[in-house]
């Protein structure tokens, strides 16, 4: 999907630590970008460009533009929470140059006509690249299959009923077969609705104390287990969204060990928080799937280390203040994530010594590009002649996340007021700097 185009001037990014996991690059290298928004040259000590601009990137990481494969932009239908313009501004603020938007809009992204309308909206207002994940069933109701081949032809980069699982096994088998035929991945929101009636947080000590209906781990695990059996039948690429339990990790690990095309993503909050965050009925910690226990957090982190989890995704879910100030059971699920994801990933995975920056960059670039079939567009990597989507990262930048600086339309985050280390300082889309806090950061 085309982003809002703007004229670029030649740009030289000089002296940075270039990390491109697609090619295994990790070295001090310059990147020259042409006026056409494409990568002209990569090498040591490139000459200054005539009529161009130079960014001094010394001390910074220069990475392919980050990709978030799981974002809710809310438009059309939920513009009081977020719009394509505000959501993509939040993406750029967090260092993401490409986002994949989920289909739970109103109307749902379940027909080529709705996808065409979305593309037109993005053409007008998107600040970064946006690619749609289309619904697997009509209206995301889990009753009738969506026209998956037509959706793929209409630009869908994945299929999901995100927000709901496809609970009917027969329909799921059909949708997986169609998704495989379209050469896309199916991204499952793993939640058995019959187990989670009335549930609003993890089933454990905190839910017991607060008097809230618990959401057990097996509500997620039974769907994954069933789906893996269907993947064996259909061969469809299958992706577990926002994995939340240690048991789910084990199921994905075993499926991958058997060679099945199963992947999984982890979100910043499931890498960082537990159900304790819900104490005091904190609706900013109300998530779907819910925050669980420290042992689950440790399992998810370890799964990233072992390569069982290959993708990181925010599940950026904006909600208005008046929606989140309701009683816990009535408040909607989800938090914003785009603007804080990078430092939280770093805190959970890099500062702990579990993985290094090149692996973290891979989880945010080449891996989601592969999942969403964006490699064929040259995204998630820096190749000569390829699109010059680049994120500059100051890994040592210490900053505090304040509500006043939120770029998106909603500020529903449990991380408000938190001091973090590491931040994207520039986001470049097709050679154009769409976000730049280089001066402020230095």
């Amino acid at each position: 999907m085309p982003h809002h185009a703007s004229p670029a001037i030649p740009l030289l990014i000089k002296g940075g630590r270039l990390i491109d996991p697609a090619t295994g690059t990790d070295a001090t290298l310059d990147v020259a970008i042409g006026a056409d928004g494409r990568v002209d040259a990569i090498g040591p000590d490139l000459p200054e460009l005539p009529d161009g601009r130079t960014i001094d990137a010394s001390g910074l990481i220069v990475a392919p533009g980050l990709i978030d494969p799981h974002v809710h932009l809310r438009e059309p239908g939920g513009e009081h929470k977020e719009t394509i313009r505000s959501g993509t501004a939040a993406a750029l603020a967090g260092g993401f140059t490409t986002v994949c938007c989920m289909p739970n809009t109103t109307p749902a992204l379940d027909s080529p006509r709705v996808l065409a309308d979305l593309a037109e909206r993005c053409q007008r207002t998107a600040q970064c690249r946006v690619y749609p994940v289309a619904a697997g069933s009509i209206g995301r109701k889990g009753e009738q299959p969506a026209p998956i081949q037509a959706l793929a032809a209409g630009g869908a980069v994945g299929i999901s009923d995100d927000g709901d699982a496809i609970a009917d096994p027969a329909l799921m088998a059909h949708v997986l077969a169609q998704t495989a035929k379209a050469n896309l991945a199916f991204m499952q929101h793993c939640q058995d609705p019959t187990i989670t009636v009335g549930s609003s947080m993890h089933d454990g000590e905190v839910s017991t104390r607060l008097g809230l209906v618990g959401w057990p781990r097996h509500a997620e695990e039974v769907i994954i287990e069933r789906d893996i059996a269907l993947v064996e039948q259909t061969g469809c690429s299958y992706h577990v969204q926002h994995i939340s339990s240690a048991g789910s990790v084990e199921l994905v690990r075993a499926a991958r060990a058997r060679g099945l095309p199963v992947t999984a993503e982890a979100s910043p909050h499931h890498l960082m928080l537990t159900h304790e965050a819900c104490e005091g009925f904190n609706t900013l910690a109300k998530m779907n799937p819910p925050l669980r226990e420290q042992s689950d957090v440790e399992s998810i982190r370890q799964a990233v280390v072992e390569g069982v989890i290959t993708v990181l995704a925010t599940d950026h879910a904006p909600h208005a203040k008046h929606e989140k100030e309701q009683p816990f059971e009535d408040a909607p699920f989800g938090i914003i994530g785009l603007e804080t994801a990078l430092p939280l990933y770093a805190e959970a995975l890099v500062h702990t010594g579990l993985i290094d920056w090149p692996r973290l960059i891979a989880l945010l670039t080449v891996e989601p590009a592969r999942l969403c079939r964006l490699e064929r567009l040259g995204l998630g990597q820096l190749a000569l002649g390829g699109p010059a989507d680049i994120t500059l990262i100051d890994a040592d930048h210490r900053w505090t996340f304040e509500e006043s600086q939120v770029a998106g339309r909603s500020a529903n985050s449990p991380f408000l007021g938190r001091t973090m280390v590491g931040r994207a300082v520039a986001s470049i889309v097709a050679g154009a700097e769409r976000m730049d806090r280089l001066v402020a950061a230095r």
Partner: protein, 313 residues
């Protein structure tokens, strides 16, 4: 006053002491205190209630305060949020708001929306602090612990649908804070192992009511809250009801409590509830609980409005 969990024992004892002083006034409508004269208490009940709303209303009146009721207001039916309802009521200029809701944590949500003191009149399965206080007071009174409100060495069995009970959560918090040992008694679905989160180290979960009744100084019976999704086996009454026969196993001088409303013939027999079928000095405190409730709510209102201390523990 949003909950008893986490409230200090000193605060609990101050409230219970105040309840004792109120009790004389609470029973005699003609004897109105002027402590809250000129003040207004709003009752905002999003969930049906007879005794709690009436009890708070009487309590406010007996302290000289005016009461305005916003219950069953159709604003929420028109789509107004709880927070906006509370802000609206606050803007009219009331001095305290009593909130009742079917939603756990609703009182905390309401308190976050206003500067006016909020009293939790029961929120979902979370807490019902004035009920917890009146249970503690009634027990102390019945067993001679009014001097110091120290329940050390006292064993209380809370029996039945603990999972869905805000009364049990507030009661367990208060009773344990005052030194009592609490046993939670019921079948697995209504007293899951995770309910251990409500107990201190001395507390325990017991499946065998007959074993628990032989140890208990007080037995607090709970109604099965079918309306919140509780389900029970056909053997429930046989195993967990305080029948006339089982009540004969109560220890000498033990007391029977029930927060109401009772399902007589289900979790408790009529002769047990009214005490007529009890033996060996065992007593039913069911009606005494209701009487004490007005005094407790007087103490709570004065606590929140009278400058005795901060409203939120």
């Amino acid at each position: 006053m949003l909950g008893l969990r986490g409230m200090s024992a000193d605060s609990l004892r101050a409230l219970l002491g105040s309840t004792g002083r109120m009790l004389a006034h609470a029973s005699y409508p003609g004897d109105v205190l002027e402590t809250l004269a000129g003040r207004t208490v709003a009752t905002v009940f999003f969930e049906n209630s007879t005794r709690t709303r009436g009890s708070f209303t009487l309590a406010a009146q007996r302290l000289g305060a005016g009461v305005v009721d916003f219950s069953n207001a159709n604003s929420t039916a028109k789509g107004e949020s709880l927070a906006d309802t509370v802000r609206t009521v606050s803007a009219m200029g009331v001095d305290a708001i009593v909130v009742r809701s079917s939603r756990s944590g609703a009182s905390i949500c309401a308190a976050a929306a206003t500067q006016v003191p909020v009293l939790n009149g029961g929120d979902g399965c979370h807490e019902h602090p004035t009920q917890g206080l009146l249970d503690a007071f009634t027990l102390c009174e019945a067993i001679g612990r009014l001097d110091g409100f120290d329940l050390s060495g006292v064993r209380v069995a809370i029996v039945g649908d603990v999972l869905h009970s805000r009364v049990a959560r507030s009661g367990a918090a208060a009773l344990q804070s005052l030194g009592a040992t609490v046993e939670l008694v019921g079948p697995g679905p209504l007293v899951p192992e995770s309910m251990g989160a409500l107990l201190n180290d001395a507390g325990s979960i017991e499946r065998d009511f007959d074993a628990a009744i032989g140890r208990a100084d007080a037995v607090m019976m709970l109604r099965v809250q079918f309306e919140r999704g509780a389900a029970v086996a056909s053997t429930y009454r046989e195993r967990y009801a305080l029948t006339r026969e089982r009540a004969l196993r109560l220890r000498e001088g033990a007391v029977v409590m029930h927060p109401g409303p009772m399902n007589v013939g289900m979790e408790i027999d009529a002769e047990v509830a009214d005490g007529s079928g009890l033996a060996r000095g065992a007593r039913s405190l069911v009606l005494r609980q209701v009487a004490v409730g007005v005094a407790v709510r007087m103490a709570a209102l004065e606590w929140c409005l009278g400058g005795v201390g901060a409203c939120r523990p």
